[in-house]
Amino acid sequence: MTDATMTLPHRTPPVRQTSTFGFLAALAVFAVTVTVLAEQGAISTSFVKTLGKTLCLCLAAVAMDVVWGYTGILSLGHMAFFGLGGYAIGMWLMYARTEGLVVQSLASQPLPPTPGELRDAIGSQIFGVVGSSDFPLIWMFADSLFLQLMMVVLVPGMLALVFGWLAFRSRVTGVYLSILTQAMTLALALYLFQNDSGLRGNNGLSGLQNIPGFENTSQAALSLGFFWASAVALALGYLLFAWVVSGRMGSVLRAVRDDEARVRFLGYHVESFKLFAFVLTAVVTGIAGALYYPQAGIINPNEIAPIASIYLAVWVAIGGRGRLYGAVIGAAFVSLLSSWFTGGGAPAIALGGYSLQWTDWWLVLLGLSFVAVTLFAPKGIGGLVDLIADRRRPDRQGDYGPDKGAKRAEEGAE
């Protein structure tokens, strides 16, 4: 057992640090370019929003990469945390905005409203669509921005903590864990679809693009602001995760991914490491969601259906697992390409008697290219970087992918 990959401590090659700096520099250049172009009117407000949203998705993808690509937990429920973050901030946005509107409309009444009247009026405004006017208990903090911001962190964090503790404690691993996380997000989505869930059922929360206190600011300026906030969040998140996955912590996480039992025998408390990675990524995903939905303007339970989380995994896989910039590339590339194809941006291809509409065929292409990536390029787009790096420095100890590194393959039946 003198296998170099197992005995040598995982080097922190300069590529990794260079990659962090390179990424941050690229992000800064990108953000400035977009700002300049937007100021000149070269790109539309809605496209700035799309870019801002894409940055949030990139942040979620980076978190997903840490939990899957580094720790080896294929979570098919991370978009649930994304959605919860969105709901948490959406509650304040909706409450504060409705409060403003209600105060305005009650001002013309002969009597000034009492606090109770105000609350009732806001309640019937918000919950009228689901045939109710009472505030459910979960809205008790909705009037406070600070507390709801805490919720953005706490709700996904607590859910991840409880769920992860239960799952890791009973040693649910591998595909079982994936299915379990998928069940979690499905349960949450189904719960939120009910009208009496207290979050407006399948109507979801809407009008989130109107930020209370910024009524007089144009949507163009707001979208640029959110774009920058998303960029900063992505940069900070990237730095945080680059720090987490480097050093000893990162080594243990990768070791858990490659052979959980051995790490346990070495004396590490594997469950704590996994739980740490799971909860931290859930919190960051929640923050990403809280930045995403004010730009999207609406959130409903469809957003946390299992399919959304699978797409997140798809992005990371296509971008390249086990490297943070890979996740960013994957999320940006696939989601932008996807909106280009489904938005009718791609020209139709005439095939004799049949005109191939990309809005119809994009998902087929995505599905098949996904199969191709898994089969032929397990390292994803990020693998291209290795090709260049290997040419320059052919003696490099290759970074084994999550499954290649595992001994299981060699120990199997073959």
């Binding site: 009910q194 998902l363 898994t374 089969l375």
Partner: protein, 646 residues
């Protein structure tokens, strides 16, 4: 021959039948006034006379009368049935002889009985229908009585029971008579006997009869409650305090409470120069300030005084709220209550039985959807996210076959094996092209098959469109098997149940009794060893995957028959199917059965607690499964030893 017949008919119709004391027209002429302008009170005499005459034409006349088809001919002052009225010439039929003649329309006066009279006529008609020769009419009469039960119907119904020849109708008559007696019987004893005979009956009319006996009305008193008391309400317990006080107010026993809205309206009405009773309007933004202002207004006498909580309390304290039965006889209500309790027990027992049937059929649907997965995932360990799309493929195969072969039975017979072949071939192709390369990377298999799943789903959407396609069941599968009013199950569900059982048996047979099964188990447990024993693992994997996918295809046809065929139908079952396999225990067909049973029963029982909310049922079921897996991570039927590690 024809001529003789016509002659005979003519003689029959022209000559009055000898031996009869009087004909219908004679009776009608006796009561010309009542027939022409019947009132609800006066019509009874006519009807009594008509019934007493016991003539076969009476019901015919009554039917015409009820349908407003009787006319009075001014030329001869007789009543006729109107047959046809066109171009000023009307065809009329003699009521006794049935002879038709034509007269000028203006000579006729229509007899138009009003609604009340027509109801009387209908009641009289029912008694004729009860002994009508045609069973369908007798049944219709029973239905009519059941719809509008009435004390008067007891006598004719009782009279008609004895002569009834049809066993079934006789039983129905006795049952209805019993219900009528329970509600309107003459003596207490008769009613109690009738009520007690209702125990154990779960038909809605029996329950309705009992609850009719037990109708109550709410009362308010100051001392002890009197009458046949059903229940005493304590404010804040059985009824809310607001409701209790509301009753006092309705009875005029207490002043109406002043609601916040009323305060607000009163204040608005009394604003003077931006102030109310001297307090500026701007300060009216709390409930306390508004109350103060209102009480100041009340002191000035401009508004009714505020009713404080103490006053409400005192008012509630000094009154007794209770409900009395509209039925005075406590013996009757006691018997009815006891019987209703036994009926309720019966009803809940039957509902449980119905629920069990529902759960069983849901379980068999889950089982069908999951059993293919139990092979590919459970036995081979391959995560196939495209399994749901194989189900969809099978369902669309059934749909396409039905477009080509119009006979539903024949098309079903063709579709079942064809769906197996189509889905199985797709499964084999997928195994060869994709999964084979990923056998040791389960997570990547998951993602690759997911890619195939979204591609197949979109492909189906492109080919068949987004709207749901029907897969029609043959006639012999439509309808349902009815045990009684509460317990029923549709034949399609029975068929799915049978199909599920068949597949269970077939699969167990293949896995345990055939060469293929032996080789499958060998390859699953130790691929290398199996290969060195001369088994080709590649071929076996291919065959196993084909089998699992093919069964998914057949499941698709079955599910398509009971739900509709859409491109997303597979996706709806995939998470449930995986959970079924995981809950049941991986690598074991019995485990899948146990998992499907557990999930089916669980979902139905949660649903029965809140039937309007199936979403909640699914949510709680998934939560239960997540927690269940915490305690039994290997499922209900867990494999032990080395097999568990495979």
């Amino acid at each position: 021959m024809l001529r003789i017949l016509i002659l005979a008919l003519g003689v029959l119709t022209l000559l009055p039948t000898p031996g009869r004391a009087q004909d219908l027209q004679t009776i009608l002429q006796l009561h010309t006034e009542e027939v022409e302008n019947p009132g609800r009170q006066t019509v009874g005499v006519v009807i009594e006379d008509l019934i007493a005459a016991e003539m076969p034409v009476v019901p015919v006349f009554l039917t015409h009368w009820q349908d407003r088809e009787i006319v009075l001919n001014a030329e001869d002052g007789r009543f006729y049935a109107l047959v046809d009225d066109a171009d000023g010439q009307a065809t009329i039929r003699d009521l006794d002889t049935g002879a038709e003649s034509t007269v000028a329309a203006p000579a006729l006066t229509e007899v138009r009985p009003n609604g009340g009279v027509r109801r009387e006529i209908a009641a009289a008609l029912v008694r004729f229908q009860l002994s009508d020769p045609a069973p369908a009419n007798r049944r219709a009469a029973l239905d009519a009585i059941a719809r509008q039960p009435d004390a008067d119907q007891i006598a004719p119904l009782a009279a008609s029971v004895e002569d009834e020849e049809d066993e079934v109708i006789r039983a129905d008559k006795e049952r209805l008579l019993n219900i009528l007696t329970a509600r309107y019987g003459d003596t207490t004893e008769a009613r109690i006997t009738a009520i007690e005979r209702l125990s154990g009956r779960i038909t809605p009319d029996a329950r309705a009869a009992l609850s009719q006996v037990l109708t109550t009305s709410d009362q308010i008193g100051t001392g002890e409650p009197d009458g046949n008391v059903a229940q005493v309400y304590t404010p804040g317990d059985e009824i809310t305090r607001a409701e209790a006080y509301g009753r006092l107010v309705d009875e005029g026993l207490a002043p109406a409470p002043v609601s916040p809205a009323a305060i607000r309206d009163a204040l608005i009405a009394n604003i003077e120069d931006g102030a109310i009773a001297g307090v500026p309007v701007a300060e009216m933004n709390t409930d306390a300030a508004r109350r103060d202002a209102y009480e100041r207004l009340a002191e000035a006498g401009t508004v009714p005084p505020f009713v404080p909580d103490e006053q409400i309390d005192a008012a509630l304290e000094s009154h007794v709220f209770y409900a009395v039965y509209d039925e005075d006889d406590p013996l009757v209500t006691d018997a009815a209550r006891a019987t209703l309790r036994s009926v309720d027990t019966q009803v809940s027992l039957n509902k449980t039985a119905d629920l069990a049937l529902d759960a069983l059929s849901l379980a068999s649907i889950y089982f069908l959807a999951a059993i293919g997965l139990a092979i590919t995932f459970g036995v081979m360990g391959v995560i196939n996210m495209a399994h749901g799309e194989f189900i969809m493929m099978g369902a669309y195969t059934g749909y396409v076959v039905q477009q080509i072969v119009p006979d539903y039975t024949l098309s079903l017979i063709i579709a079942l094996p064809l769906a197996f072949v189509v889905a199985g071939a797709a499964g084999i192709a997928m195994e060869r092209l994709v999964i084979r390369h990923l056998y040791h990377r389960p997570l990547e298999t998951l993602l690759a098959t997911f890619g195939i799943s979204i591609a197949l789903q979109q492909l189906a959407k492109n080919i068949f469109g987004t709207q749901a396609r029907p897969l029609t069941a043959p006639d012999w599968l439509s309808g349902q098997l009815v045990f009684n009013e509460l317990v029923a199950i549709s034949y399609i569900r029975i068929a799915i149940f049978v199909l599920a059982g068949l597949f269970l048996a077939l699969l167990l047979f293949i896995l345990r009794r055939t060469r293929l099964g032996l080789e499958v188990r060998a390859v699953t447990q130790n691929r290398g060893m199996a290969a060195s024993m001369g088994i080709d693992p590649d071929k076996i994997n291919m065959a196993t995957f084909g089998l699992g996918s093919g069964i998914a295809g057949i499941a698709g046809v079955a599910i398509g028959l009971y739900a509709q065929v859409t491109s997303e139908m597979g996706a709806n079952y995939i998470v449930q199917s995986f959970m079924t396999v995981v809950v049941g225990g991986v690598g074991n067909v019995w485990g899948t059965l146990a998992g499907a049973g557990l999930i089916g029963v669980l979902q139905k029982s949660i649903e029965s607690m809140n039937p309007s909310n199936t979403l909640a049922a699914q949510t709680y079921m998934i939560l239960f499964i997540i927690i269940f897996i915490q305690f039994r991570p290997r499922g209900i039927v867990a494999l032990r030893g080395r097999a568990a590690e495979a």
